[in-house]
Amino acid sequence: MSGKRIRLLIWKEFTQLKRDPMLVRLLLLMPVIQLVMFGYVVAADIRHLSTAVVDLDHSVASRALTDQFASSGYFTINARPTSEDDLRPLLDRGQIQVAVVIPAGTQDHLDRGETAQIGIIVDGSDSQVSAVGSGYASQIISRYNRQVMTDAGVSVAAPGVDAQIRVMFNPTLDPINTMIPGLIAAIMMISLMAIMSQAVVKERESGTLEQMFVTPIRASEYLIGKLTPYAGLATLQMLIVAAVGILWFRVPFNGQLGVVLVGLALFMLTCIGLGLLVSLVSHTRQQAQQAMMFIMLPTMVLSGFIFPIASMPPLIQPLTNLIPLTFALEVLRGAFVKGSGFAALAPQLLILAGFAAVIFTASIIATRRRIAE
């Protein structure tokens, strides 16, 4: 291996990159823009659900209950229809997501010491809204009941359980804290793989790949020369994107910076390597494109970035271990949210390193075998 030739190859890559400002912009600028945009989306919490209250009772109790809903922070009362029938169009068009129906005679039931039913309607076509919305609504009603009991003097005397429910690591359960780190990784992955997958194909199509291999340039030198500039750019990208993510969204950082950087660096290597591998085995740009999609869709869906792995069927869960992003997410979420250190995350980091090693070995083999075709 000749250091001189490697430097020459790196010089060549940079010279070409210089002439393609769009590419550099795609690599550095666009991820930042995407991060900011999507950050807002993934971080949005389910709150201020648009709610309609149908108060058919018009009593002290019904007004008290309605106030509780309104002041909870979870529900925003946007409509007060006069009958239940009016709810249908509102829900159908998605103008409201939750409806509370207080039937006539509620106060009377309460006064008589009977149970009064309160109707809660949730929009099931949005599963998170329905799960969370009904949960919050039930809680509010529970609290109301407790208040009633306390007022009656019962609860104070009775034995019971007082549960202190504490959420650890992410007390506000603000999705920001787990989604932003995940988003950083996802954005890096997409941009790096997209660019690398085209890198070699371009040279194969123009014939310069063939030309280079007739010269004393060796396969390994070529790969290193190709990778280094992109790895450098990717590192830059990683630092910029991570910094923006953390600062802009004020993501609390509980862990060790070192762990995050090492994890991201390893993940970045895997992405570059995978893109390069695709580029090496594809004959045309279109093939490279399709291969990319074939890899990225399952990655997005099965890595746990959006859809929790714990919710996946047992048959599928082992498959998620084939995806590098899965482990990168564990490292990032662990470091950001739980403050996990190297010791706790060692398995994931080692696996990421393993992925990188396997992919690069495959790349070298692919280069040696396919250059002439």
């Binding site: 995407q34 807002y40 010491g113 076509s125 949960g135 359980v161 007390p171 997209a194 929790p308």
Partner: protein
Amino acid sequence: MKASLTRIGAVTNKEFKHLLRDVRTLAAVVLLPVIQLLLFAYAISFDVDNVPTMVIDYDKTPASSEYVRAYDASSFFKVVAHGDTLNQVDTAFDANTARVAVVIPAGFGETIAAGDKAQVAVLIDGSEPNSAKISQAYSVALNQLYDQSMTKSWAASQGLDLSGIGALEPRVRTWYNPERNSTIFLIPGLMAVIIAIVTVQQTAVTLVRERALGTEEQLLVSPMRRTELMVGKLLPWTLIAFIDVVMVILLGMAVFGVPLRGTPLVLALGSALFVFASLGMGLLISAVAPSAETANIMALMIAFLPSFLLSGLAFPLDQIPVVLQWFSGIFPARYMVTISRGVFLKGSGFAELWPELLTLAGYALVMVLVAARLYGRKARA
């Protein structure tokens, strides 16, 4: 007009021939979305249950055991470990072997026997907000119920008449998706996203291919008007993608039991328009991109994340800053997801969904016109 149609027909024919010769691409375009839908629809869900729970019982009395049994009985919690010390919770959370930990302090039974409220700690791993939220809600519910039942039995044993105290009881009705099966919620959206991603990619490549092969010049010189060229190019793909959509819909219904409650015609029309619009977007990218390489990269980046994140598939769009909401309107996937969910689950028809249909139609129109405008400008430059 007739000449126009003939020319469009000629281009369509040519594109079809290209396609049919390229079996690999054809297979990819037709089969892949179907396979992916099957796989992903099976895999994804937001439903949470059998949450691994660790119990640390410092008390070890009948009272504490009875309390623990409440968790055992719940289908939501799954007691997987009994620990001895608090440190084990940290380890379990770190290793993700438990997501919830119930810690019963010593003296639990005594306190209850004395007639007081005994404290219990429930720790929830918040690093996975989705399940954490739901776990939190269920813990609250479980404990409230337990507390209330304790109160009731105490009251009964005291001979107290609780009947004077009224209570409200929530009756929850979930519209459109009574079993709260998140898969049913996700599949209509997933369909739209998969198609969006696949279609934008495809067309981004075709125009650049022409440019590369040099046939672009030929076409520009001919009497073919650019709009006709665009339309001709899009039609075969539209047809194929539409076939895809149909297959995907049928599979969704047959395999996953997604109900179709609304007007199928709206769905069909929406799908066709959506496919056309997505393809148009791809066309626009390829007309604008300086090189094949950039076209590919742009298509990938523009089709991918936005389809997942800005379409309303998994993340609600009404809580985000208004600016972003408008921005999400740029992506056709958003409208398709609304239409899809509307028709499948909400039983919607034209009355409810006409805004989205109109938008998609307008979208498709604009895309084709703009792409036609820009195409060839590059060539002349």
